[in-house]
Symmetry: C2
Subunit: 253 residues, 2 copies
């Protein structure tokens, strides 16, 4: 058996999220079903760096699985892509150490959130960005960012449905880039809780609209209670952009 690490991209529009759920179309199910076909019916389990919600996209999700097939590394993407539906694509594949783990070994992630400031919605972006018609003050949002950086207990920014116990995470950077009518939010950290980016986004937007003061972030964090943060922004603006590992994929055999 060899362990294979893949970088995959998917359009989240047609999926009920990444993780397998009964009677739902999910990314994990498509991956496992493609792998099982490639292995002539013997079941292959896939482990991802983490799940993503319904409608959330990925450009650089990372998965691993084990296989007895001795395909040359560079043949794996084409072999899988020929079976996968066209809303999931294997971008790269590499053989890795047999103890490599896509989730446990991830040391950081970048998520991006696309916000379009518009009064008139663009039908081509309806699944790919949050089209926002209220005026927002970007500088106010930037003033809120320092309160979020570094290590904090992010319980207030985590879905109340989460069962994770340790809610301490370290955010390394939050960057807001302006491109024409688009605001691109980049969140880089050692890991993110369930719905965390979407709640951070919703809260930053409330700051940008003037409904909250930038310094209120400090109080929200201290409360450790989801009800004090802002609304959860829609999933379809969110992209899992990149997952970081200590090992470089190319040297990782």
């Amino acid at each position: 058996m060899m362990r294979i690490k893949c970088i995959i991209a998917y359009d989240g529009t047609g999926f009920a999220g990444y993780q397998v759920q009964p009677n739902k179309r999910t990314v994990q199910r498509e991956l496992e079903s493609a792998l099982t076909k490639l292995h002539k019916g013997s079941e292959v389990k896939v482990v991802a760096s983490g799940r993503t919600d319904a409608g959330v996209h990925a450009v650089g999700q990372v998965i691993h699985f084990d296989s007895p097939l001795q395909l040359p590394e560079e043949r794996w993407p084409a072999a899988l892509n020929s079976i996968l539906p066209n809303d999931v694509v294997v971008e790269e594949a590499a053989y890795v150490a047999e103890d490599f783990h896509a989730r446990y070994h991830a040391i950081g992630k970048e998520y991006r959130y696309r916000l379009i400031r518009t009064k008139k919605s663009n039908p081509f972006l309806r699944h790919y960005a949050y089209q926002y018609s209220f005026p927002i003050d970007v500088e106010r949002m930037r003033e809120a960012i320092p309160y979020l950086l570094g290590e904090h207990d992010f319980t207030s920014f985590c879905s109340a449905r989460s069962e994770v116990e340790d809610r301490v995470r370290n955010i390394y950077g939050i960057y807001i880039e302006e491109h024409d009518d688009e605001l691109l939010f980049r969140f880089v950290g050692n890991g993110f809780l369930y719905n965390m980016i979407r709640i951070l986004m919703g809260t930053l937007l409330e700051v940008g609209k003037g409904e909250r003061e930038p310094h209120e972030i400090e109080k929200i964090l201290a409360k450790k209670n989801r009800i004090y943060a802002g609304k959860t922004a829609p999933g379809h603006g969110l992209y899992l952009w990149q997952v970081y590992y200590e090992e470089n994929i190319a040297n990782d055999k």
Copy 2:
């Protein structure tokens, strides 16, 4: 009654084309059903500059309809967009002369076709561009263009299912723009037949791949028979970009 001209955009992915067909979701049906709701149940008929096929998009489709509602011009887009599904958007509206006709008065159209040269398909573009993995020589395609320009009987580039009798059209320009891995084809002419742009695209691609010579276009046109032209390229790369009228929409009262 006042006649209203609108510029509309739609993502063709979820539609069985523009024109009403029994038991199919079409753009015309969504427009008429929104207008009928806005008119408290009295039926409103919509006339477009022309139909588009299943999967084909529009950025600047033009329609007209008549209404007794005396809404200020600038209120029409929001009034309709609040009822329409989010894959069809009214971009602009204007009151026009009561004999204005979206189809008969159109004097020209621009269509665009997005081709992405790639070995690995991008899941986010699967409905919005033709992702093409064969090597193509753009200069060869450019050499074929002069044979298509001007007035010709385009029967060879028209779906055999078309019932239109006059197949003479005038192509004013075909432009190929290169942007990174994207080739953007712009077709401007006085009108286009059923499937004409898609058959032109398919034929140009066969020239670009080296399967046909640029000068063969002349022979294909002379044959006046669909079987001599190339394959019909997929609809999802195609956009109805703009419709031209002699009247300027702003002065058109």
